[in-house]
Symmetry: C2
Subunit: 418 residues, 2 copies
């Protein structure tokens, strides 16, 4: 008997018909002799509805109240799904984050899980009851409701799977797995049957919106096998798991594209020790997360400094820098430029570690298409290039082709058969 | 400095504009130097929306899950109101039933309050924060969410006022007080400035939907002064309080009408000891609450027995009785008749205790209008007559006129002035 945690996203529980489909899936897993724990998101559209109400109520709603407000969405789904399961003769009970003992820190709207007791989950499972758990939420030390940030239900599911030592965590969503590239951009994109945690983490962080990055980190840390699959088909989906010998065959597993970045350039920064620290400390204090950084070679004791930030944080970062210029006397800073129309195109693969020439192949491919590279950043298993946004799709398609990602790898044929 | 509990019903928080009006009312009470605790219902329409979803999910939703589902409505309102208060510079925090320590028994969908700790309420008040509490809900011993039944937010407000020793509990609703009769039925109906707990209790139970009966009972038990008033005007409303000398002037305070009853008649019941007990025990076991009972004089060892039950329970009661006839051998029972088109018209007043002739006056009034009385029941402070439903409005108007309820009583003139 296996223990499976199933997580259903907003579109998978979007209306009562969808909820019925979930019921059938749970029944099937139960009939196959498995124990099932279900984690649900708010019904599609519900969170946005609540956010609109909050925006009407206040120009800057308190984070504590946003958590109280938004956490109701998942609760509604748990109750409805538990009812629908009971209706089909499956014993089921809804549970809030608090009731299953998800204890978090105090960071409202973006809390971190500190501990999960899961006592009532174990009791329910022992009694043959399917627990239906509200994703996205926990409580802090004051017993106030907290939420885990965008995509937090993925994290709830993976964390519960980890603490219950589940055999698998199935993430049901509106796509049927993880692809070598966004199929909307690359028609020949191929669904991966397996992907390593590290690769998934890079891809998730780089803009593939299939799984929340923190949940992948969590799965990697606790070695939880995660399966991304569609709630509308019976396809096997993509298994996110630890690196194995088959994966090493492939140098590159996927190409991603992130258009949600703005490049900020500081022109004429004094080329002195301590200046970069001053600048980036100020930006960090403003809670802006910086992605890529480039410093050009200085001339006349001045240099240009460029970095990228999420689009939504660009104005805040600029304000912080303008203030810094005035307050801290970063003299000589001649200007602050924002560049919005950029895209970060990346290739990801654990096989890169043992292959040389991957970066060269990427740059050559882009050059052949006449695409100028604005910034470069690399890690052990990915290479990212910032390019003009208008070339984004072209770059992704060219790289997908150059690394032959549309073709099923020689050994993968065996594991792809159903 | 007075402590006031303000409760706002669904129409009073029906949209963001309504919520802003509530904010201004709270600000006004605070500015006048009062401490304020706010209790809110779900936004108008929200509970019905959730009930519809539940009906789609299951033909007979589990009570525990209904509570999980419906309790979200009040939570949404608390968060929105707390945000809107903060926006106006009033420090405020939302609290769930659990967070203010409302502990109930385990009767899901109709739980009774067993204890209220109110610890966090006292802390918030001491810190100058306006607590905004979700009405209608608590938790049971298993820490599962329970709800207090229809109109349960009134009960939350009165119970919190009792435990906090509040100076007053203001119930804001869409009517501006308690009337001598339903103004839709009787154009000359007059708003009462004061009413005794006992009278309000009878009127609430008899179909005046202004206050939930259990909350009136609670207010009476703990002597909480309750004020029923409109959230759309600045009128003084009606004060529900303990009986005082002024009230005794009036023999009758109000006329009510309840069309939600069905009369059940058992024809040919054996006139033997123990039969009535058998019948009414079976009905009680089916959780049907019986209101009025009449037993006719028997002939040939048989008698007819009539009683009224809430309309929605009539079919269940009939089924129970049919089963009883077969199972327990209540032989001779010749038939079970249901009569739907009835209305219970009642007059209520604490002054009745010390006045004779009130019942006679009521019967004479109805007779003059040619209205036949089907059943009669009385208590110390009320007289109810069941009549044909088609005469309901006529009966109410005639009684209102006969007892001169439209005219301001001689002594009441003084207390009515503003």
């Amino acid at each position: 008997m296996a223990l499976i945690v199933q997580k259903y996203g907003g579109t998978s529980v979007g209306d009562i018909d969808c909820i019925r489909r979930v019921v059938h899936r749970v029944v099937k897993a139960k009939s196959a002799g498995n124990q099932v724990v279900v984690v649900v998101s708010a019904m599609a559209g519900e969170t946005d509805r609540l956010i609109r109400l909050a925006q009407q109520a206040s120009a800057s709603p308190a984070a504590r109240e946003m958590d109280m407000l938004l956490s109701t969405g998942e609760r509604v789904t748990t109750a409805l799904l538990a009812m629908a399961l009971e209706q089909e003769g499956v014993r089921a009970q809804s549970f809030t984050g608090r009731q299953v003992g998800i204890l978090t820190d105090g960071a409202h709207t973006n809390a971190r899980i500190e501990k999960i007791t899961a006592e009532r989950l174990r009791e329910a499972l022992a009694a043959g009851i399917v627990p239906v758990v509200a994703g996205f939420q926990g409580i802090n030390q004051q017993s106030d409701v907290t939420t885990l940030g965008r995509g937090g239900s993925d994290l709830t599911a993976v964390a519960l799977a980890a603490v219950l030592l589940a055999d698998r965590c199935d993430i049901y969503t509106d796509v049927d797995g993880v692809y070598t590239a966004d199929p909307n951009m690359v028609p020949s994109a191929r669904k991966l049957s397996k992907i390593a945690y590290e690769e998934m983490l890079e891809m998730a962080s780089l803009g593939a919106k299939v799984l929340q990055p923190r949940s992948v980190q969590f799965a990697m840390k606790y070695q939880v096998p995660v399966c991304v699959r569609s709630s509308f088909t019976d396809d096997a989906g993509t298994l996110v798991t630890k690196e194995d010998s088959e994966m090493e065959q492939e140098v590159v597993s996927g190409v991603t594209c992130d258009k949600n970045q703005t490049k900020i350039t500081l022109i004429g920064v004094p080329d002195q020790p301590g200046i970069a620290s001053k600048i980036f400390s100020a930006i960090a204090d403003a809670s802006v997360v910086i992605d890529m950084i480039i410093q050009n070679i200085g001339q006349d004791g001045l240099t240009d400094l460029s970095f990228t930030v999420p689009k939504g944080d660009a104005e805040r970062a600029k304000k912080t820098l303008s203030k810094l210029k005035a307050d801290l006397g970063v003299e000589g800073l001649r200007g602050i430029g924002l560049m919005d129309n950029i895209a970060k195109v990346s290739i990801v693969g654990v096989g890169m570690r043992s292959h040389s020439g991957t970066a060269a192949k990427m740059f050559t491919t882009l050059a052949k298409e006449g695409i100028n590279i604005i910034m470069i950043s690399t890690s052990e298993i990915k290479i990212s290039c910032v390019v003009d946004a208008k070339y984004a799709e072209l770059a992704v398609r060219a790289l997908h082709e150059a690394f032959a990602l549309g073709k099923t790898p020689a050994r993968a044929g065996r594991r792809n058969k159903k």
